[in-house]
């Protein structure tokens, strides 16, 4: 039987020991002696979050299809175990074979959000591998990063050997074959990395050099050797029908965030909201095949025993065959004790009809994400949702028995005025008024409108990548304005307002658009004891502020200034398929409040057509 890396005394002392034992349903078992490549794949957050991530499940399945490779999982030990592992010098281990991570050939880390960066250092630290990539030897795994944050990998550049820019399905075979070949030929680690850098999509940060102007902006960025490519182009799967998909996903023992079968129906988004990074970097929009999705739904429910199935995409309402898919799921599985969980669909007659079939109308709530309160600002951000559409949808829903509505907005968007902020509660008020138009005897008590605001963080590869970001106090002041306006509404008792703390947001801003130099703050913060920063119970702002002070790095330089469109941005060497010219055009149109039609209405020439597929070529055959 498998021996566990942690002894009983530790396992009985810590919270949720089942996070660390592996052995879940559908776990892949291989003899480590029988494979050439051992790959640890890591989501740098707690098990329940990491296990809910579809990308890891896809790569785990894909890598384990190779007979010569064994892919195992690693998640961040919770702070209780972290302390014990540090104290007793227990090395971080994989869940499958409970082996030390340092014994692996690769340590692949998915980088999904900025506030997990200290957890990445925790993973490296507990593994016993040097934090700085340049200090590693063949005794250490090749540390490779992937995921959305690698579209600006620079803040993490010192800690990774390779970043894989784009979708994992396309180049891992080539990379692992190269690794085997290098090992057989006794190449040096450096030789391997230089060869890897020539594989499309691979960015080896140590092979690139940056110089800076006196004002701190980048003067030059480029490879240190001639044969290393100057630009790294994102990798992308154009035919989503024949890609591997985990039809036997892992089934955890403890309740995780995504405790259900997840069907990925589509990648990319046609909408082009100007604040949204995912909407740009995953272009062009590509749909999965309906018949295959139906087949996978059967297989995955059978192989997992899950009682719920859900759809995944950036905007499910834009999946062309959504109606057929949803109808199929309801007819096929609803009577068999399977819940159908629908992602936030655009509210219309169809979505209300299916929602009323799969949810308890009185308990569930409707979600709208207008993102901005006024039509003017919605035009700036290119969010196509109008007040008319929202009121129409909410009205239909209220007639159908719903009484809870959730509204999501951002504060601090470019060009935002006080009037825009005040429009947020006014929109909520109009929705509440629409509810009270229903005769008293036909409605079910009060309605409940929840307004949530988050603070806007400009992201690389969006038209807002040049925009200044608000400072902490400016954000809080905007939330105060909204809160004050909420209180002036007639139906204020039906409105509820939630807003976030701003401390984390400003840090996100620094790491979203930071350059290589902010890696020093990160290391200092980790040394100061920061981990699990995305968890409010562990986030300590003072430690971060002192890390900035000790390293002499200015938040304002990264967040508050407006960048010129001529400036070399830290992520300019990456080609995400969408051209800088397009982003500039969008940035200018935003400032004039001009909307851009979505990809299905009209092509705006973003550049993604070069990938020769997806929405760019719909109806063209």
């Amino acid at each position: 039987m498998r021996k566990l890396a942690l002894n009983d005394e530790i396992l009985l002392k810590i919270d949720k020991p089942a996070r660390y034992i592996g052995n879940e349903v559908n776990m892949v078992r291989k003899d480590p002696e029988e494979v050439d490549v051992r790959f640890a794949i890591c989501f740098p957050d707690v098990y329940e979050i990491g296990m809910s991530h579809l990308g890891i499940q896809i790569l785990y399945d894909m890598l384990n299809r190779r007979p010569d490779t064994y892919c195992e999982r690693v998640y961040s030990p919770w702070p209780d175990l972290h302390a014990i592992m540090k104290e007793q010098k227990i090395p971080l281990f994989t869940l499958e074979t409970q082996s030390p991570v340092r014994e692996m050939d690769f340590l692949g880390i998915t980088i999904q959000y900025e506030m997990c960066y200290t957890n990445i250092l925790q993973i490296l630290d507990l593994s016993g591998t040097p934090l700085y990539a340049t200090e590693r030897t063949w005794e250490d795994p090749i540390v490779i990063g992937g995921g959305p944050c690698t579209y600006n990998p620079e803040p993490l550049a010192d800690f990774f050997d390779i970043f894989y820019i784009g979708e994992g399905e396309t180049r891992y075979d080539e990379l692992l074959d190269l690794y085997k070949e290098c090992k057989e030929k006794n190449c040096s680690r450096q030789e391997f990395l230089e060869a890897a850098a020539k594989i499309p999509g691979m960015y080896v940060p140590a092979l690139y050099e940056v110089t800076y102007h006196e004002d701190g902006t980048i003067a030059s960025f480029g490879p240190v050797k001639e044969e290393i490519p100057a630009r790294v182009k994102k990798e992308i799967v154009m035919d989503l029908t024949d890609t591997p998909y985990p039809t036997k996903p892992l089934v955890p023992y403890i309740k995780v965030t995504q405790d259900r079968v997840v069907l990925e129906i589509m990648r990319g988004c046609i909408r082009g909201c100007r604040f949204c990074q995912a909407g740009m970097i995953y272009r062009p929009t590509r749909e999965r095949n309906l018949e295959q999705l139906k087949q996978w739904a059967y297989e995955m429910l059978k192989n997992t025993g899950h009682e719920e199935i859900s759809l995944s995409s950036l905007s499910s309402s834009d999946y062309t065959r959504l109606k057929e898919l949803v109808t199929f799921l309801i007819e096929e599985f609803k009577g068999k004790g399977i819940n159908i969980s629908l992602p936030s669909l655009r509210i219309d007659a169809f979505s209300l009809d299916v929602m009323s079939k799969v949810q308890d109308v009185r308990k569930s709530s409707l979600t709208f994400a207008p993102e901005a309160g006024s039509q003017r600002l919605r035009d700036v951000i290119n969010k196509g949702l109008t007040e008319e559409v929202i009121l129409e949808g909410a009205g239909q829903a209220f007639e159908g028995g719903w009484q809870k509505v959730k509204l999501y907005f951002m504060l601090g968007l470019p060009t935002e005025t006080e009037e825009d902020m005040r429009e947020i509660p006014r929109l909520a008020e109009k929705i509440a008024e629409r509810y009270y138009e229903i005769p008293k005897d036909k409605r079910n008590g009060k309605c409940q409108i929840t307004i949530s605001t988050s603070f806007f963080v400009p992201k690389p590869f969006t038209p807002f990548q040049w925009a200044p970001m608000c400072r902490r106090d400016e954000f809080l002041e905007r939330a105060r304005v909204v809160n004050e306006e909420v209180k002036q509404q007639l139906n204020r008792k039906s409105l509820k307002y939630n807003w976030h703390e701003a401390d984390v947001t400003v840090l996100e801003g620094v790491f979203a658009r930071g350059d290589r130099r902010v890696g020093r703050v990160l290391l200092k913060a980790y040394e100061n004891g920061c981990i699990f920063d995305s968890w409010t119970e562990f986030f300590v702002n003072e430690k971060w502020l002192s890390a900035f002070q000790e390293t002499g790095i200015s938040m304002d330089f990264y967040n508050s200034r407006e960048r010129s469109t001529d400036e070399i941005l830290p992520w300019d060497f990456i080609d995400c398929g969408v051209s800088k010219e397009f982003l500039k055009r969008e940035w200018e149109k935003a400032q004039r409040g001009i909307v851009t039609p979505n990809c299905r209405m009209q092509c705006s020439g973003c550049g993604a057509m070069q990938f020769e597929g997806g929405v760019c070529f719909e109806n063209k055959n």
């Binding site: 039987m1 020991p17 089942a18």
Partner: protein
């Protein structure tokens, strides 16, 4: 119809808690295509109930759960289907139909057997305890009552453990195992201790007077310390608790929960 399932839980699965085991079995029922019945409503759930929760860290070869099904394969087929979808650390040992009107597992639990032994580990083996058997007899049979104080919400509470302990003796764990071979329970399910010595106990179990084996052992440990008798000290992390069987009580006799019910052909 109602079905009673008996299973064993061992290895790394001892760190999976009771509520998670319930979720585990709900999903297993679907993977094994058991025609289980659901409750009505917007979020239907399977009709399933467990006999007695097992604490985290404890292994068992006598766990029970009852389910309701619309139809059933033969018990042998169902057993095979379930075992095909189990993980290492859970074995389904029995699948039987309950007679009409049988009480459900949870409400009929009256007692449970436990084997407690020193486990292998970083700790080394305990010193020989020749006095253990005698001291244990004096502790259990020699005393009129075994008073312990328990911390409750309302403060300290004194209670007598003796009437709640039905059997208590020192055993040779290897002999115990040989005498009681269990079909379908894997050899490695018990990590046999360095020396054969251990405890066997049958204690009151259920919703009213639930006695945990740890409670008996710490009372014995206190007794040894107070009397200076035998060197036993209860160190929870060094000992493995293993549940052997769970019983219902019928007209004074303890009947294993698995003996209620019949085969399905």
């Amino acid at each position: 119809m109602k079905i009673r399932i008996k299973f064993a839980k061992y290895g790394s699965l001892r760190f999976v808690g009771h509520l998670d085991m319930m979720r585990y079995f709900q999903k297993a029922m679907r993977r094994a295509d058991i025609d289980i019945a659901y409750s009505e409503g917007y979020s239907p759930h399977q009709i399933m109930s467990f006999a007695a929760p097992l604490g985290v860290g404890i292994t068992s070869e006598g766990e029970y759960l009852d389910i309701e099904v619309h139809s059933s394969k033969s018990d042998q087929e169902a057993l095979r289907a379930l075992n095909e979808v189990m993980v290492e650390g859970v074995s389904v040992l029995q699948y039987r139909e309950l007679p009409q009107g049988a009480r459900n597992a949870m409400s009929s639990v009256a007692a449970a057997d436990y084997l407690v032994y020193w486990k292998e580990g970083d700790f080394g083996c305990p010193d020989a305890l020749p006095e253990l058997s005698r001291a244990l007899r004096e502790f259990y049979r020699g005393q009129k009552e075994i008073l312990i104080t328990r911390q409750t919400k309302k403060g300290e509470k004194t209670m007598d453990l003796k009437p709640l302990i039905f059997e208590l003796e020192a055993v040779d764990v290897k002999d115990f195992r040989t005498a009681r071979k269990l079909d379908g329970f894997p050899e490695e399910g018990l990590q046999l201790p360095c020396q054969g010595v251990g405890f066997f106990m049958k204690v009151c179990t259920g919703s009213t007077d639930n006695v945990k084996p740890e409670l008996v052992l710490s009372a014995f440990s206190d007794y040894c310390e107070a009397t200076g008798d035998c060197g036993f000290r209860f160190e929870p992390f060094r000992m493995q608790i293993h549940r052997v069987e769970v019983y219902a009580r019928e007209s004074g006799d303890f009947i294993p929960l698995g003996e209620i019910g019949c085969h399905i052909n």
